[in-house]
């Protein structure tokens, strides 16, 4: 087949795929709603949620994880485009990470030495480490699906960012239930859960996002 013939056939195909942003919203919003509903129905929101949302040390974990999730989502949309490899900058994610570590250091210093271990271990490590990855499944899948509809030229990086976005948002939702208010707890264990999900998502992305 001559190239001109191919071009003629290509030009006749007027079916246009949906824009990436629309695809993402169509998948991600229901996924997040399901996650909220799951936390609400299976675990219940924390009893003092109204107070917690206005208490800085408690609310800041929702802010941090949500900001991380939204920043990563925006980067994922950039990386879904072929030139995204050159235009997407990952440093905003490092800023969120640095802020979390700063918070951890601050909490370490301000928590009395004898209380540190209890604050770090808390009472709900297992629930936290199981629930956040479970809640992340649908949001991360939404992002990976959108990236697959796109044309990323950096599959592993796109998978990495998708993992951070999905698990960051899921952690923010989990925080509606979790009553562990010490940064020693939540930076450590939320962080570990997010890193675990992100690692898996990176490995999946490297495989499935080629085209």
């Amino acid at each position: 087949m001559k190239t001109d013939d191919l071009i003629r056939a290509l030009a006749a195909d007027t079916v246009r795929p949906r824009p990436l942003k629309a695809t993402l919203m169509l998948c991600l919003i229901p996924s997040l709603m399901i996650a909220v509903a799951a936390v609400w129905l299976a675990l219940g929101f924390r009893a003092d949620i109204a107070t917690a949302l206005v208490t800085p040390v408690s609310a800041i974990r929702i802010v941090l994880t949500a900001v991380l999730g939204i920043a990563a989502m925006r980067i994922a949309l950039l990386l879904a485009r072929p030139e995204g490899r050159d235009t997407a900058r990952l440093w905003p994610l490092a800023v969120a990470g640095a802020a979390a570590l700063g918070l951890l250091a601050w909490a370490y210093v301000t928590t009395p030495a004898e209380a540190r271990q209890m604050a770090t271990v808390g009472k709900t490590i297992t629930v936290c480490l199981v629930t956040i990855p479970l809640l992340s499944v649908l949001p991360v899948a939404s992002l990976l699906y959108t990236l697959r509809q796109g044309a990323t030229t950096a599959p592993a990086r796109a998978g990495f960012v998708a993992g951070l976005a999905g698990s960051g948002l899921s952690a923010a939702i989990y925080a509606l239930h979790c009553t562990e208010d010490s940064p020693l707890f939540y930076v450590t264990w939320y962080g570990l859960a997010i890193m675990g999900v992100t690692l898996v998502s990176t490995l999946i992305g490297a495989r499935v996002l080629r085209w």
Partner: protein, 265 residues
Amino acid sequence: MGTATLPDAQLDVAATTYLSSHFPKARPQDLPGLLVAAVAVYKPVRETAPFVTHITTSYPWGHCRLDAEQVCNNDADRTNWNAVMAEQTEAWGQLLIAANAGDARAYARFLQTVSPVLRGVVRAKGAGLGEAACEDVLQEVLLAIHLKRHTWQPDAPVRPWLYAITRYKVVDAFRARGRKVDLPIEDFAEVLAAEAGPDPTDAADMAKMIGMLDGRSADIVRKIGLEGASVAETGQALTMSDGAVRVALHRAFKTLAILRERHVK
């Protein structure tokens, strides 16, 4: 030295010398491909005085690095060069905007306009493969551009988008054909913004893939592509509605992309 009077044979010698000194890593067998690319760029651009006058007298093949920093030694040159590039990019953008709004003719024009440029990129990288195989890779690139055209946003420049797809597909295609591509495409990207001579392919790969589609899809692609039938005519011939032809055609291209990937690996 007048630009218009420089004979082609002399250009070739100058180009080869230039290329081997500026691309020390290029193997001898890569040079013909680089040369084709350079000539493709050079001929149309030399009409664009005064930049070209300067480039031909001082840098016979300078623009084939296309890196404005290295090509041009003063601001005026750089401005001229950027103007040439910007004009072309803008034209591409307008065609693509019209295409995305549903103008099939603008879309065909867009693909026809970028094909020679992309052909230059492919040949520059795959000189050892032969022209037929390069044309085949070009078709793969065009198919990818087509299937991923929704990833371009009207506010984004066309060129980086186009080259990113091309780079990805070219590296992939040559890797799959057992040839490692060792020259970064950036070296050529900007330079190659010019028409290459038309070159019909005799590579059978795309035709072979079409043969692997189901009968009806293959008929649709052949009728529209080879026979130049319209969607309506195709629908009549196959007793299908226009909508059904369009959907089948779109599916056929998606399937072709998958088939090619499998086939080449």
